[in-house]
C-alpha cells in the first residue's frame, strides 16, 4: 500500500480498509530501513507522527471527510515547524527550533495530514544536486551513485522511494521540477504569490515559491488545494479566489495548443532525453492537441540574470544570520566584528558563501545599474517572450533538464552546475507556474517533461499533466534499490 497515491490511500482510509495509524507505521518502518542509504530525511518525527495519525483516525470516526485526512507527508526542511528542528540544510541552523509553524505547515495540519519528518535539501536551497547540504548528499533511489537533483532532493527521493506519500518543496530556479525529473515523480511549482512564503526560510524573495512533490498530478492538485491562497502574513501572496484544482483534471485536451520552444530542443540537450520528450508529445497529439514551435529568444540570458537576482536577494536575506538572535554563534569572539565574521564563516558552507559574495558584489556601490538593474531589465524581456508565446499557445512543453541524473561528485565547477537549470530558471524569473512529470526513461533513468502555464494557470497545467498520466504509466514505475539489511 505504501506505493499508492494520496488519492488512492484517501479512498482506502475512508472505506475503513486502512487506518492512518497503520499507514503511518508502514512509512516509519520503511524510513527506518532505507533512510540510512538514501539520506532523504534530516529529522524523523516518529512519536508526533503516530499521535497525529491517531488524531486523524479519531476525526474520521467522527465524520471528518477532508481528502488528505490521515495522509502521511514530509516537509522540506526549509519550512518552519514549531517544536521540530528546521535546519535549512545548514550548520547555521543545525539546532534551530522555530517558535511557529510556516503557513504551509499550518494549512497541512488543518487538513489533517501526518508529518513524518523533515527532508534533506541543498543548504539554504542553493544547489541543483543536494550535495551542498550540511547533512550530506541525498542518493537517487534509481541509482544510489547519482544525485537526486536539488534543492528539494530529499523530498523527491523520499516520494520516489515510497518513504512518504507526498512532500512539500520550494522552487527558486528549478528546485522542485529538476529533482522531480531526476527521481521520476511529479513536481509542481505554482505561480509566484499563489502560496504563502511565511515561515519558509528566505533565499531569493522575488523568486521563491512553495510547491509539491507527489506520485501523480491528481495528488499535486489535492496538495495545491490545501496550500494555495492569500495570507495576511505574506504581503506578496496574491488575493485570488480559491480554486478546486481537482475539478478540471478530466477536461478534454482536444484542441489544446502546445508550444515547443526551439531553444529547449537545441544544443546541449541529450539525444535520449529529446527522444523521450518527443515521444511523449505524440501522446498529446493522440489526445487532440496541436503542437507548434514557439520562440523564447531571450531564454539563453535567464541563467545570467538569475545569478544576479538570486545572489543579490540572498545576500540581503542571509545578513540576518549574525549569531545574535538565533542559530550558530562562534566560540569566544574577541569583539562584535569578529563574532559576525567567524559565526557566518563557520555557519555557512562554500556555495552559500560564494553566492553571498556574488550578491554583495552586484549590490555594492557603483555596480547596481550594471548588475541588478540590468538583470531586472532582462527579466522583463524574458517575461515578454512568454507573454508573446502565450498569445499563440495554451501551454509550453519541453524537457525539464538537459539530461538525466548525473553522478554524485561529478560536477565540481559551480558554473556547470548553474547551467543545469537552463530550462527551468526563466519560469521563476517570469513568475509562471511549471510542472515536471515523468515522460519516459533514458538508460534506465527517469526523464522529466516540463510544462509551463500562463499566470495562475495551475489548473490547466494539472489537467494537461493528469491527462497524460491517464494514458501512460511512467509515473507508476518504481526504482529497485537494494535494501540495507
Amino acid at each position: 500500500m505504501i506505493e499508492k497515491t494520496a488519492a488512492e490511500l484517501s479512498q482506502a482510509l475512508s472505506s475503513g480498509e486502512l487506518s492512518s495509524m497503520e499507514l503511518t507505521q508502514s512509512y516509519l518502518d520503511r524510513i527506518s530501513t532505507h533512510n540510512r542509504e538514501l539520506n532523504a530525511f534530516i529529522t524523523v518525527c516518529e512519536e508526533s507522527a503516530l499521535e497525529q495519525a491517531k488524531a486523524a483516525d479519531e476525526k474520521r470516526a467522527s465524520g471528518d471527510k477532508s481528502p488528505l485526512l490521515g495522509i502521511p507527508l514530509a516537509h522540506k526542511d526549509i519550512f518552519c515547524t514549531k517544536g521540530v528542528i528546521t535546519s535549512c540544510g545548514s550548520h547555521m541552523l543545525e539546532n534551530f527550533v522555530a517558535p511557529y509553524d510556516a503557513t504551509v505547515v499550518e494549512k497541512f495540519k488543518t487538513a489533517g495530514t501526518v508529518m513524518l519528518g523533515k527532508t534533506n535539501m541543498d543548504e539554504f536551497a542553493m544547489g541543483s544536486s543536494n550535495e551542498t547540504s550540511f547533512f550530506g548528499p541525498v542518493k537517487n533511489p534509481w541509482d544510489l551513485k547519482r544525485v537526486p537533483g536539488g534543492s528539494s532532493g530529499g523530498s523527491a527521493a523520499a516520494v520516489a522511494a515510497d518513504l512518504c506519500v507526498m512532500a512539500t518543496g520550494t522552487d527558486t530556479g528549478g528546485s522542485i521540477r529538476q529533482p522531480a525529473a531526476f527521481c521520476g515523480i511529479t513536481g509542481l511549482k505554482p505561480s509566484y504569490g499563489r502560496v504563502s512564503r511565511w515561515g519558509m526560510i528566505a533565499f531569493a524573495s522575488s523568486l521563491d515559491q512553495a510547491g509539491t512533490l507527489s506520485k501523480s498530478a491528481e495528488d499535486a492538485a489535492l496538495m495545491t488545494n490545501v496550500m494555495a491562497g492569500i495570507d495576511s502574513k505574506d504581503s506578496t501572496s496574491i488575493d485570488r479566489p480559491a480554486e478546486d484544482y481537482t475539478a478540471t483534471l478530466n477536461d478534454s485536451l482536444d484542441g489544446l495548443r502546445i508550444g515547443i520552444p526551439k531553444q529547449h530542443f537545441a544544443e546541449g540537450l541529450s539525444a535520449e532525453v529529446e527522444q523521450a520528450v518527443r515521444e511523449a508529445l505524440k501522446e498529446y497529439e493522440q489526445l487532440g492537441a496541436n503542437i507548434t514551435e514557439v520562440d523564447l529568444p531571450n531564454n539563453h540570458l535567464s541563467v545570467s540574470a538569475y545569478y544576479v537576482v538570486a545572489p543579490a536577494e540572498a545576500s540581503a536575506n542571509l545578513s540576518r544570520y549574525d549569531g545574535v538572535r538565533y542559530g550558530h554563534r562562534c566560540e569566544n569572539p574577541i569583539d562584535l566584528e569578529d563574532m559576525y565574521k567567524r559565526t557566518r564563516s563557520e555557519g555557512f558552507g562554500d556555495e552559500v558563501k560564494r553566492r553571498i559574495l556574488v550578491g554583495t558584489y552586484a549590490l555594492s556601490a557603483g555596480y547596481y545599474d550594471a548588475y541588478y538593474r540590468k538583470a531586472q531589465k532582462i527579466r522583463r524581456l524574458i517575461k515578454n517572450d512568454f507573454t508573446k508565446a502565450f498569445e499563440q499557445v495554451d501551454v509550453i512543453v519541453g524537457p525539464t533538464s538537459p539530461h538525466t541524473a548525473f553522478g554524485l561528485g561529478s560536477k565540481t565547477d559551480p558554473v556547470a552546475m548553474y547551467l543545469e537549470d537552463i530550462y527551468t530558471i526563466a519560469v521563476n524569473l517570469a513568475g509562471l507556474p511549471g510542472i515536471s512529470i515523468p515522460a519516459g526513461f533514458a538508460n534506465g533513468l527517469p526523464v522529466g517533461m516540463h510544462i509551463v502555464g500562463k499566470d495562475f494557470g495551475e489548473g490547466k497545467l494539472l489537467n494537461v499533466a493528469h491527462q497524460f498520466q491517464q494514458q501512460t504509466d511512467w509515473h507508476k514505475r518504481k526504482p529497485n534499490f537494494e535494501p540495507e539489511d
Binding site: 534551530f96 527550533v97 517558535p99 509566484y192 504569490g193 522575488s206 504581503s235 506578496t236 496574491i238 539563453h300 540570458l301 545570467s304 540574470a305 545569478y307 544576479v308 545578513s319 549574525d322 549569531g323 545574535v324 538572535r325 538565533y326 542559530g327 550558530h328 554563534r329 569572539p333 569583539d335 562584535l336 566584528e337 569578529d338 563574532m339 565574521k341 567567524r342 557566518r344 564563516s345 558563501k353 560564494r354 553571498i356 559574495l357 556574488v358 554583495t360 558584489y361 552586484a362 555594492s364 550594471a370 548588475y371 540590468k374 538583470a375 531586472q376 531589465k377 532582462i378 527579466r379 522583463r380 524581456l381 559551480p414 558554473v415 548553474y418 524569473l429 517570469a430 513568475g431 499566470d455
Partner: protein, 95 residues
C-alpha cells in the same frame, strides 16, 4: 571581469565573511567565472526596457498601522545564544 585578491577581501568585509588567506585565490577564480557567466547579459541592449521587480508588477499591499503581534519576547529570546534580562548579549562594543 577578473576579480583580484584585494577586491575579494573588500567584498568579504562587506558581507562580514572571513576568507582565509589560503582560500582567497580559489574564491577569486570561482567568482570571476560566475561574473563571466553574468556578463553575457551585457550583450543585449536594454536601453528602453522597464526593469521588472515583481513578476506580476503588483504593488505592495498595505495594512492598517496597528499592532497585531503579541509580546513573545521571552519565547523568542530563548532561541538566542546569549540573552539576559530581556536583552541580547554580544561582545563588549563600548569600553
Amino acid at each position: 571581469m577578473a576579480l583580484d585578491k584585494s577586491e575579494v577581501e573588500k567584498i568579504a568585509q562587506l558581507a562580514r565573511l572571513h576568507i582565509s588567506e589560503a582560500d582567497t585565490d580559489e574564491v577569486a577564480s570561482r567568482i570571476t567565472d560566475i561574473l563571466a557567466l553574468i556578463d553575457q547579459m551585457q550583450s543585449v541592449n536594454t536601453e528602453r526596457v522597464e526593469p521588472m521587480a515583481h513578476p506580476l508588477d503588483v504593488t505592495q499591499r498595505l495594512r492598517v498601522d496597528t499592532a497585531t503581534e503579541k509580546d513573545r519576547r521571552d519565547e523568542l529570546q530563548s532561541l538566542a545564544p546569549a540573552a539576559q534580562d530581556g536583552l541580547y548579549l554580544v561582545p563588549k562594543v563600548i569600553e
